[in-house]
């Protein structure tokens, strides 16, 4: 019958009318972010940082600027350099996380926030003082030890450098056990390495 589609369309809109809206009223209501969310406000632990500047080298945009000087006092881990400047210009950051992947000492973590709107561009630069003093709620992205400990940055509890842990070395061994170029100490993995070595003439 002519007009059936019109009536069907009217009932579709009527059905939608009585359904609850799915918009979130942002300042009052917030969606929970995933713990691995790569946010702003990088978490940086100075006690871990040796000043190797791997992060600055790996940054595709070149927005991390590090100035170091030889350290006179002994710092607990690392302890080669004093960090004078550690600026991250998040106005140009694309949050790829390569700096966090590059960090060999697990000193740099992605942040978990997303509300860093500023009125001036120069305010978007995170200085070393801010990195030192900020409450550290690191994202669990590329840091599986945090996730294994059950840490959720969005629960709001800051975590100190002693608690964030190091990336588990054994876990990395298991991951790389398939490679015959990588020799390990555990028996099981030695077997794998030996077997594969026999097959190759």
């Amino acid at each position: 019958m002519y007009g059936r589609g019109l009536i069907k369309g009217l009932f579709v809109t009527l059905k939608n009318l009585v359904r609850p809206p799915f918009t979130v009223q942002y300042p009052e209501e917030r969606l929970t972010q995933h713990p691995r969310f790569r946010g702003q406000e990088f978490a940086w632990y100075e006690e871990r940082c040796t000043g190797c500047a791997s992060c600055a080298k790996y940054c595709p945009l070149g927005i991390i600027r590090i100035v170091t000087e030889p350290s006179t006092t002994s710092v607990e881990q690392g302890g080669k350099y004093n960090i004078e400047t550690f600026d991250i210009d998040i106005g140009r950051c694309m949050f790829c996380g390569l700096c966090v992947e590059a960090c060999p000492y697990d000193a740099l973590f992605m942040g978990s926030g997303f509300e860093r709107g500023k009125y001036r561009r120069k305010d978007l630069l995170i200085s070393v003082d801010e990195l030192r003093t900020a409450a550290k709620r690191p994202s669990t992205w590329f840091r599986p030890q945090l996730e294994r400990n059950g840490y959720d940055p969005h629960a709001g509890v800051p975590i100190s450098w002693k608690d964030v842990g190091r990336e588990n070395w054994e876990w990395r061994q298991e991951d790389k056990a398939g490679s015959r170029f990588y020799k390990t100490n555990t028996d099981q993995q030695n077997k794998v390495v030996e077997n594969s070595a026999e097959e190759i003439p």
Binding site: L6, G9, L17, P21
Partner: protein, 423 residues
């Protein structure tokens, strides 16, 4: 002092409070006016002015409320929330919009015809407010009980077409004139089935006065005249530039149509007139097809409540239609008016005329038709519903092929391998 407002309850109250005395009309008995003798004109003036103030402000306030309601309901149809920031449920949003429009610069294009350009909002608002005069809002509450009220509404309502064309012509903008030309072409087409659909109601009620139509509705005329109600709803939504027929302000094609060049409070007035026009149309629909102020209980005491409920229902239907249907093409709109609505209007008119001839037997001695009773109305409702279903099905089949097929296009790229021009 005699006036056409005499039956209006509000007028009686105010006038008698000021000028009720023994020399006055009989309906002021028992009241002593506070003004001395010879000052009746002041009471008349105050009463008339008050009614005018209530009506005009009520219409504009209703338009503001309608804007809010429309945005909320459209939002919910889109699964959004709509305006909800200022006031409870965002109720003060129209005030924020109005303030914004008031402090905007009021631009007039250099090549515009200044006088006509400025007159447009006035003419639009005037046509709207004039059409409110004949609507009975409650028992004995209306500005004028014209004996040609239905005709008056249609005539005054089409004044807005002139305003739209004035806007398009005086703006000196090609999009404005496009919109105005489309509007005039469309509105003149839709005026025909619109008027024809109202004739059936007038035939059954035996009068063009809205008050008489309400009194004649022992059964709501939407049951007795289903085809007429449908045609009137569609025709009036075309006349009001509502969405399925809003080619004259199609923002994806011509920027805003006839009001492209309008800004500031002129734009606000045009919008207010459009929105209040929807309310006026809903009021006429409620009056002619749903019994107006008469309700199942307390018709004379709570007439305004019943009327507002019915008006809100039809306003919701307008919003619902707007939230559902996409914009039609100009040829689809024209085909719909001339090939679908107009034949249906003729069928409705013919069937109603025959029914009225047989049910309200012509009384030769009194030279008038007899009154149609409630049972006869129910029989008419059954017959007309059947006729409506058959006619819609039939004319839907007749017009379907013409309306639903796309214009024939040349398929230049019929297969992926061949491109025309490369041989």
């Amino acid at each position: 002092m005699d006036s056409f407002l005499e039956n209006n309850g509000m007028y009686r109250g105010i006038y008698c409070y000021f000028s009720g005395n023994e020399g006055n009309a009989a309906w002021c008995k028992g009241l002593d006016g506070i003004l001395p003798l010879g000052w009746e004109w002041l009471g008349y003036f105050i009463a008339g002015f008050t009614i005018m103030l209530v009506l005009v402000n009520g219409a504009l306030l209703g338009a503001a409320l309608f804007v809010w309601g429309e945005r909320r309901i459209l939002g919910r149809i889109h699964k959004r929330r709509g305006p909800n920031r200022w006031g409870p449920f965002g109720l003060l949003q129209p005030i924020a919009d109005l303030l914004k429009l008031l402090i905007k610069e009021d631009l007039v294009p250099t090549i515009a015809d200044r006088v006509v350009f400025t007159l447009v909002p006035v003419v639009m608002l005037m046509s709207l407010l004039l059409s409110l005069a004949v609507i009975p809002f409650a028992h004995n509450t209306y500005l004028a009980d014209l004996n040609v009220a239905v005709l008056y509404f249609v005539a005054v309502g089409s004044l807005s077409t002139i305003a739209i064309f004035m806007a398009g012509w005086s703006s000196g903008n090609k999009y404005a004139i496009f919109g105005a030309m489309r509007s005039v072409a469309m509105l003149i087409s839709y005026e025909v089935p619109l008027v024809m659909s109202l004739v059936g109601v007038v035939l059954i009620a035996g009068s063009m006065s809205m008050v008489d139509v309400v009194n004649a509705q022992h059964v709501p005329f939407i049951l007795v005249q289903p085809l007429g109600a449908l045609i009137f709803l569609l025709g009036i939504s075309a006349e009001l530039n509502r969405t399925p027929f809003d080619i004259m302000e199609a923002e994806s094609e011509i920027i805003a149509g006839y009001h492209t060049e309008y800004s500031g409070i002129k734009f606000g007035l045009i919008q207010a007139a459009e929105m209040a026009g929807v309310l006026a149309a809903s009021a006429v629909l409620a009056t002619l097809f749903l019994g107006g102020w008469s309700g199942p209980v307390f018709s004379s005491e709570l007439g305004a409540v019943w009327f507002l409920l019915k008006l809100t229902f039809f306003a919701f239907v307008f919003i619902w239609i707007r939230g559902t249907f996409p914009r039609l093409r100009i040829d689809q709109i024209m085909a719909f008016a001339w090939k679908f609505l107009l034949p249906l209007a003729f069928i409705n008119l013919m069937s109603t005329a025959v029914e009225v001839y047989f049910f309200g037997f012509y009384n030769a001695s009194a030279d008038q038709l007899g009154v149609i009773t409630r049972n006869e109305l129910w029989v008419m409702a059954a017959i007309n519903s059947g006729i409506a279903v058959v006619a819609i099905t039939l004319f839907g089949r007749v017009t379907r092929n013409r309306m639903e097929t796309e214009p024939v296009r040349l398929h230049k790229f019929q297969s992926a391998g061949t491109v025309i021009g490369v041989n």
